[in-house]
């Protein structure tokens, strides 16, 4: 399935199809993200996040980053979402709508976010206004990614493994009862 999408997206004729796919996915992602930050229900919010994360994974597929897409699904949708849902349950959030999820002055957040968005989009527009992606999109094979990680990026990779270990220990130490 993923391969099918990938090939369609990357073939010459499939360019516009990929475009259409992208805009649909982007629309879904933005709407779901907006719902996520505005909904009054914690469980719903996490489900919306699920949608956004899937949409991001689909974006990766369109960009030819198949391994990143697979990892996104495995780690984010599989692990992180479960973790977040555990968090929701362990803190005994209400199943259903809540009233007190937001600060009163939402406009401050909205203002900052809008200003930030405006600045970013302006600079993006200025910088990459009409830059197109390369016509011949080559999918970035997992094999090549593996080579890259275990040769050029071996030090960050090792550092990351230490970080994960530290986070593991840290999480246990912080959260255990004693």
């Amino acid at each position: 399935m993923m391969n099918l999408v990938l090939q369609t997206a990357l073939s010459d004729t499939g360019n516009w199809i990929a475009n259409i796919f992208f805009y649909i996915i982007a629309a879904v992602a933005v709407v779901a993200a907006l719902k996520m930050v505005t909904t009054n229900n914690v469980v719903h919010a996490s489900l919306y996040l699920l949608v956004v994360l899937s949409a991001v994974a689909a974006t990766y597929v369109i960009l030819g980053a198949e391994f990143a897409a697979a990892t996104q699904v495995l780690v984010y949708l599989g692990a992180i979402m479960v973790l977040l849902l555990f968090g929701v349950m362990l803190t005994r959030a209400k199943i259903g709508a809540e009233t007190d999820l937001d600060y009163d002055q939402r406009w401050i957040g909205a203002l900052v976010a809008t200003a930030l968005g405006a600045v970013m989009m302006y600079s993006l527009w200025e910088g990459f206004g009409d830059v197109t992606m390369p016509a011949e999109q080559v999918p970035q094979r997992t094999e090549a990614v593996a080579d890259e990680i275990f040769s050029t990026y071996i030090v960050p990779f090792e550092a990351l493994s230490v970080l994960l270990l530290a986070a593991l220990i840290g999480a246990v130490v912080v959260a255990r009862r004693d």
Partner: protein, 99 residues
């Protein structure tokens, strides 16, 4: 396809994430919004990787995913600790850093 269409999507998701971080009181929701921000960054990385036909974008996206996993783990542990101590995960109440 334009490079900008990916970058704009990323920028929008980023700002929505920022909005979420700034307005949400619930600790878990704040964490979710942070995930959104991280994902926006990842889209940027992957998009530039595809644009330059270079693998490093994807590799760094993978690193960010791993760091995000660690961050959620520790973040939730902190939220749980706050909940245990205060019976609430309202970050507005966690203000003992007040000067």
């Amino acid at each position: 396809m334009f490079l900008n269409q990916f970058l704009f999507l990323a920028a929008i998701l980023f700002c929505i994430g920022v909005y979420g971080v700034l307005t949400r009181k619930n600790g878990v929701l704040v964490l979710m919004s942070i995930e959104l921000i991280l994902n926006a960054v990842n889209i940027n990385l992957v998009a530039f990787g595809a644009f330059h036909q270079h693998l490093s974008g994807q590799v760094f996206a993978l690193f960010v995913i791993a760091v995000a996993a660690a961050e959620v783990g520790v973040g939730l542990a902190i939220v749980l600790l706050i909940y245990r101590n205060r019976r609430s995960i309202n970050v507005a109440e966690a203000n003992i850093l007040k000067g």
